[in-house]
Amino acid sequence: MTSVAHGNLVELHDVEKVYPNGTRALKGVSFDVKKGSFLAVIGLSGSGKSTLLRCINRLHEPSGGRILFDGTDVTRLDDAGLRRVRQQIGMVFQQFNLVKRRSVLTNVLSGRLGEWGGHTFGGLFDRWPKEWVEEAYEALRLVGIADKALVRADGLSGGQQQRVAIARTIMQKPKLLLADEPVASLDPSTSNSVMNHLKMLNEQHGVTVICNLHFLSLVREYATDVVALRGGEKVFEGKPTDITPQWFKDIYGEQAKEVEIH
């Protein structure tokens, strides 16, 4: 439990990932994530950002190294243990990943499915508990779309869908939130609203956030810490203010030019 004493929620030690086709997506990445921080992971497409995030909750199985979450080595857990850890880790995706043919409310409630593990047939024939429904409405109120609760998820705009996805993670009451390019398929103004909701979770609910981002302007505005990846290796770790034009060129290559988003 030393890591908890240091105030680290997540520690990565030499995490490696080799895909079955031989691609080495992560080549020994190590860093710590402090409790309550908002960590941005930056890097080009294909630099291993998504893989890194998915290794933390083992949606992708890491091939080597250790990942500590709240003092537990995630890489050594069995199925049941992994599900218990996953209940404490929320995740939002670039493509929102809602069940499109179901109502917004059902989508939000499904954030609690982890707690249904003990029920017969995985809770297939059970109804949602009343308190949960209350909480789901509360979560929707937090992200500002409680009025859409009974609308089918595919009837919402991209930004609204991402807010539903955030409400789904709120239902988990997570300690950690993994956000895989949460704004990459949204327009600039919606992007800011979604990022603000993540920031709100981070600051008011004490949720630690690890967020893959493309735009440095967003990193400077929202993140407290930055890790940069290139070709599966960590090339930078520090504060957003430490990113100099030279660093930027190192991370994104000589040809790159910073694009602003406000």
């Binding site: 995706f93 499109k100 249904w116 789904r168």
Partner: protein
């Protein structure tokens, strides 16, 4: 063996495609050699030579050639002979394969990729010149073989006896269709109209036949005795039996297939060795049961539990389960992975993930497949009666055995009406839910 670089291929697949092309080339030549020797030489050429050998007096060269080839009235083409032909052809194929210009590499190189450089398209066209030649050769060879094997005999289509019989049967069958035999005021019946048309054909045939010295046809003189109402009652009862047995087969197949489909979908069974084993078992099961026709199942169950609709319905159910599992699991395999990933990330177990992330995505395709399956089952239920599976098929085979052609016509008409309306309805419903 190499496919040149200007042929557009996904680069990572180029080696595999080259290998596939080589194999196809080898088999194409082996096939050509076997067919050429067995059909062209042994099946067409040598029998013609034999005609010369039986001339009076026998032609010496033909007798010698037959003796050399080992061909006679009772000669059988040996398996060893086939093997040698195959081997010889395969050797030519290997040689051709190394040039990389044959029909095999051509087929293997077909892809959806665009040619970017216009000059390349000319080079590609030149490169496959020989392949086109080979391809046309193979096609001609296959058509000739097919012609010989199906014993196509155009002359038999104009033989007097056959025409006479077919005409009589056509009249009888059409007599069984409702209202065809009914007399209308002043104009006679539809049946007499058909008979008149056929007799015009007979007159035409006899006119041409008189010149060519064919044996003449007799005009059709039979009358129609329409099927009585009582018989309709019985046929409709049997038809209802068919429809309901098809429904029962579908109804009981759906829940079983619904559960089994999850175990037969690749994307849900990847995570552990046990599940991969279950997946393989499920696939083997559906492929085996599906490849055995329902009519065979019906024979089996007719022996097992006795002739009747129950046997037919179980046979249809067995087949339906396999087909539905296949279609359902393919629907599962094509769902969006995103929601599955998202629910796994919340710590949900696999049953909950399947129920909340997969099922909502597959209900509509399932509905469409299920309605289509019922439609198919109704069609098959009429056939399955032929071998003792109950329903109208049994009646059909009975009347056919007694040569009651007008009753066969009645039954065929009823089946037509049901199949057509099922087809229409199911198409409409499937259209509506898309």
């Amino acid at each position: 063996m190499r496919i040149p670089n200007f042929v557009p291929l996904v680069e990572s697949e180029r080696r595999g495609r080259e290998r596939a092309g080589f194999v196809i080339e080898v088999f194409a030549w082996a096939y050509a050699a076997v067919v050429a020797v067995r059909i062209l030489y042994w099946g067409i050429f040598l029998p013609r030579v034999e005609d010369f050998a039986y001339d009076e007096p026998p032609q010496q060269w033909a007798v010698d050639l037959l003796a050399w080839a080992g061909f006679g009235r009772y000669a059988e083409f040996s398996w060893a002979g086939l093997g040698w032909c195959f081997l010889a052809g395969a050797l030519v194929g290997v040689a051709m394969g190394f040039t990389g210009k044959g029909v095999g590499p051509w087929i293997a190189s077909l892809s959806k990729l665009q040619v970017n450089n216009p000059e390349d398209s000319i080079r590609i066209s030149k490169h496959w010149a020989w392949a086109r030649f080979e391809g046309v050769g193979l096609l001609v060879l296959t058509v000739v073989t097919g012609w010989v094997l199906t014993k196509i005999d155009l002359a038999s289509m104009f033989a007097a006896q056959g025409l006479q019989g077919a005409g009589r049967m056509l009249l009888q069958i059409s007599c069984g269709i409702p209202f065809v035999g009914a007399e209308m005021d002043g104009v006679g019946s539809l049946f007499s109209g058909i008979r008149w048309v056929l007799n015009v054909g007979v007159a035409g045939y006899n006119a041409v036949g008189g010149v060519l010295a064919w044996s003449p046809l007799e005009p059709f003189a039979q009358n129609c005795v329409p099927t009585d109402a009582e018989y309709y009652g019985m046929a409709l009862t049997k038809l209802a039996e068919s429809i309901y047995l098809a429904f029962m087969a579908t109804f009981f197949a759906v829940p079983i297939a619904f559960v089994a489909a999850f175990f037969a979908a690749r994307n849900l069974t990847r995570h552990s060795r046990t599940m991969r084993g279950v997946y393989v078992l499920a696939r083997v099961y559906i492929n085996v049961t599906r490849s055995i026709e329902p009519i065979i199942w019906a024979i089996l169950f007719a022996v097992w539990i006795g002739i009747g609709p129950f046997a037919g319905s179980i046979a249809l159910m067995i087949h339906s389960i396999a087909s539905l599992v296949k279609q359902y699991s393919e629907a599962i395999e094509s769902v969006d992975d995103g929601p599955i990933e998202a629910l796994q990330a919340t710590g949900a177990n696999r049953i909950a993930t399947a129920w909340f992330a997969v099922v909502p995505q597959v209900v509509l395709p399932y509905l469409a497949f299920t309605i289509y399956r019922w439609d198919i089952n109704v069609r098959m239920a009429t056939i399955i009666g032929l071998v003792g599976g109950g329903g109208i098929g049994g009646l059909l085979i009975q009347e056919q055995g007694l040569a009651n052609w007008s009753k066969v016509g009645t039954i065929a008409f009823l089946i037509f009406v049901v199949v057509w309306s099922m087809d229409f309805l199911s198409a409409r419903v499937r259209e509506a839910i898309q």
